[in-house]
């Protein structure tokens, strides 16, 4: 077999194998370099795979040559591609961008372990995106979660440890719930392969263990995906993590769990359980509306930049889920395209915040006051990415909103109310983005901000590259929309 046929496996193997290698490297800068190279390779592989999948083919890869449903199978379709691109892209961008910040926050002694954990997290997240096996998802989920606990806890801020502990506790509960659900289904069907499961659950559908499994899987994944009201671990974890880790995890970690939730429900439960669509939709619509409103409102009153963005993420995850819960082609497209666009938005915003933190050592609004004057490029990047978060036309955020509103308005009278919720939340986004702008541009310097200067050029370049990506994908929407539409068809075609 040629190398190109092995790309799906390499996608996971490259970061996974590089991780132990990195721990052995005790030369300064080398761990970072290897991690970046591995991550960039993974990114290149996902681009190559996307190129193969884009025409509409689905790649299946039997791991170790064992055919499904006996062996583990990787299934790569358009939806997996969206996730792969987000995960590997965010990881690569964050690593390339954050060298200086990481040197400052992690130090050279712990660097080998840190980068090894990073690569493990990457391998796990990518693995979840492409595997077609329910138990394998759990394994990758554990790999990525354990590695993320290390990443979040490795910052100099000691509060990160309590944040990590909270995340660890709730994350473990979530993963256990998922495992219980998968176990129940295995008990009833005798298979772990998702496609096989989908065809077999029909025979035992509406038996109590299967219904319980649906509940366990959905709640467990909702917990990992920080879906309101199960989001409590998330804002603090983002806040106290090293800044570069926030860039990486905010862009993709919760989304991967969200992806599994959508995938699992649409593939296994939706076609087989009677009335599943109504329950799924009814439950998630309410939850996501609450997430959108409450997340945005809390963000308005938040005074820590990173936590503000964290709560904004709670709301944005709500948008994604809202789109999905419409169970229509437009809605599903909106949800998936927002998976992609929100990753761009949040990565850019957290990058700008990391620049600020690198120079000022703090992300509290009252301590970074006036930074617009000393860090004009950084703050301009924040403003530009903020516009995308608000959903100003010409930005990626607008494309998501355009589809989301369209899906809502298509949904009859209830849809009008939901559209109103989306719009109110956009206004709240204007308020919290503008709050930051006012602090940055109109307040007097503080002691800390007076002496600082503009962020290093390397950091600025990557921040702006990410910002420009927001504008690029706001105007040239073919790639994300094309992927999202075919993903939506896959998800709905499976019966959702």
């Amino acid at each position: 077999m040629s190398l190109s046929a092995q790309l799906p496996a390499l996608q996971v193997v490259v970061p996974l194998a590089s991780a132990p290698l990195v721990t052995l490297l005790r030369v300064a800068n080398l761990p970072w370099l290897v991690a970046l190279a591995a991550s960039a390779t993974a990114f290149a592989i996902s681009i190559a795979l996307t190129g193969q999948v884009l025409p509409g083919t689905t790649i299946t890869y039997d791991l170790g040559g064992w055919p499904a449903p006996y062996g583990i199978v990787f299934v790569i379709d358009q939806l997996s591609c969206v996730m792969m691109l987000i995960v590997t892209g965010a990881s690569t961008a964050a690593l390339a961008f954050g060298k200086m910040s990481l040197d400052l926050q992690i130090g050279t002694v712990r660097a080998p372990y840190f980068y090894a954990a990073w690569l493990l997290a990457l391998a796990g997240l990518v693995g979840i995106s492409i595997t077609g096996d329910a138990f394998n998802i759990f394994v990758f989920m554990e790999i990525s979660s354990l590695a993320s606990y290390v990443l979040i806890g490795s910052g100099p801020d000691r509060r990160a440890l309590t944040a990590t502990f909270k995340y660890l506790t709730l994350g473990t509960i979530g993963a256990t719930f998922y495992l219980i659900g998968v176990g129940l289904i295995y008990m009833m069907t005798g298979t772990l392969n998702l496609a096989d499961m989908a065809s077999r659950v029909g025979d035992v559908s509406d038996l109590r263990p299967v219904l319980a499994a649906a509940g366990f899987v959905t709640i467990g994944l909702a917990l990992k995906a920080a879906i309101f009201p199960l989001h409590v671990w998330m804002p603090n974890a983002y806040t106290f993590a090293p800044h570069i880790v926030s860039v990486f995890l905010a862009a993709c970690a919760t989304k991967v769990s969200l992806y599994v939730l959508i995938r699992f429900d649409s593939a296994v439960f939706a076609p087989n359980l009677a009335g599943h669509d109504i329950r799924f939709s009814g439950f998630l619509t309410v939850v996501s509306i609450l997430a959108v409103l409450i997340g945005s409102t809390v963000a308005v009153f938040e005074n820590n930049l990173k936590r503000l963005l964290g709560y904004s993420s709670v709301a944005q995850i709500g948008y994604i889920l809202l789109g999905v819960s419409f169970l229509s082609l437009t809605g599903m497209t909106a949800g998936v395209v927002h998976l992609f666009n929100h990753a761009l938005i949040k990565a850019a915003l957290f990058m700008a915040v990391a620049c600020i933190a690198y120079r000022l050592g703090t992300v509290r609004l009252n301590e970074v006051a006036g930074c617009g004057k000393i860090m004009p490029w950084t703050m301009a990047a924040f403003v530009a990415a903020g516009l995308s978060l608000i959903g100003v036309p010409g930005t990626a955020g607008f494309v998501s909103k355009w589809y989301l509103l369209q899906a809502a308005l298509d949904h009859g009278p209830v849809g009008y109310a939901i559209a109103a919720v989306i719009l109110v939340s956009s206004v709240l986004a204007v308020i919290y983005v503008w709050k930051v702008i006012e602090w940055a541009y109109f307040r007097e310097f503080t002691e800390t901000s007076r002496e600082a200067g503009e962020a290093p050029v390397t950091m600025l370049i990557f921040t702006w590259a990410m910002v420009l990506a927001n504008f690029y994908f706001g105007i040239f929407t073919e790639l994300p929309l094309g992927l999202a539409e075919s993903s939506a068809k896959i998800l709905l075609g499976a019966g959702l």
């Binding site: 516009l387 608000i390 959903g391 100003v392 036309p393 010409g394 494309v399 909103k401 355009w402 589809y403 509103l405 369209q406 308005l409 298509d410 559209a419 109103a420 719009l423 109110v424 956009s426 206004v427 204007v430 308020i431 503008w434 006012e438 109109f442 105007i475 040239f476 929407t477 929309l481």
Partner: protein
Amino acid sequence: MSDATLILLALALPAIGAALIPVFHRAPNLREAVTLASAGTLLLVTVTLWRRVSAGSVPDVVLFNVVDGIDLAFKVEPLGMLFALVASSLWIVNSIYSIGYMRGNDEPRQTSFYVCFAIAISSAMGIAFAKNLFTLFLFYEILTLSTYPLVAHKGNNEARQGARVYILLLMATSMVLLLPAIIWTWLLTGTADFTVGGILAGKAEGPVVGILLALYAFGIGKAALMPVHFWLPNAMVAPTPVSALLHAVAVVKAGVFSVLKVVVYIFGIDFLAGSGMNQWLIYVASATVILASLIAMTMDNLKARLAYSTVSQLSYIVVGAALASSLGVIGGAMHIATHAVGKITLFFCAGAIYVAAHKTEISDMTGLGRVMPYTFTAFLIGALSIIGLPPMAGLWSKWYLALGSLEGEYLSVLTVLMVSSLLNIAYLLPIPLKALFGQLPEGQQGDGIKEAPLPCLIAIGITSLACILLFLFPDQLYQLTKMIPVR
């Protein structure tokens, strides 16, 4: 040059200017030369386009597809041509004035001022030439964002507060009302293109038309229809050239222009008039005309009074649109131009008074005309034009609005127009008259106050002359508005 090149040049020239201005940060004379040069070439471009439009061609250009069925595209029709002409010609005058004002006042951050100004003009061009609702919306938002730093220019608490209201109200209305209106229109009709005769006929009926109209009328917050008008008085904390930009050149005019454009090319006047759903808008706009005039009378701050006068005058144009008749559209479109020259004169004068005498309150201006006769004479001309008395340009737009209301048998609207003229007389005329013929307070013999810097005076001269010339030679303007294809 091809049509497409001209259209893109109209957008690009101010943008290029904006990019070049910071290069000459340390050489103010060169910097202002860049502004004037881009403004001059822009006017050449718009005039060339105007000649082509007058000859009956409809230049258009499609840049690229954004989401399925929606392009970033431009098309020059007569109404947009009119707005582009107003904005581009007044940009030159405003730039001349700004030189005098900003230097005379020693304002900080002048470079960013000129940059934002140029971006605002570029987005005004985008609004004027938008081929579909999406393109209009895109440039509408850019205009809001680029003018925000201008409103907040002073950087003090008051400016921050005013700018906060400005951005929040304009963005909130555009997102919560205008965007759903656009998407709804798109869902109903499958298109968002501005089309002769409208696109909604047969696709929407009954109350839906009224609700859509409301979403548009209030969603275009820049049109300052009550009750979404209060960003405008709040924004008067900006430096005067910015107020002139807001009130006369770009921002509010972009608002009323969008309302007119939506009524003519999205609803279609026959469809709207036939549905009867325009009635409420006529009354709301009429109420705004009267109420804003009444509020203006209570204001002692000159710029605040002018701001409420703008709110009132803008609703003339909305009334013109809401009448949904060809005469109403002509009147409304003409009022975009005539109000622009009148109001910019008044704001220029207010700024000149501030630069020369540092006075903002009307009650302090008694007798000031004795030391600033030129400024207050110009104020008188501008005021007469706003009131709509001959020999000033304002007469013509009111004339056609009145004809439109008679044609549609809306006697109440005619009454409103007349009462409003009386109110205008009451709150505008006393200012120049008291200044020119009143006595300076005891012990104050002018205190060495003299006229504003020369560039200000030149600009004031040009715009007051325009008020008179547009009265004497309104034909070009009339011909252009008559070309607007209403059906």
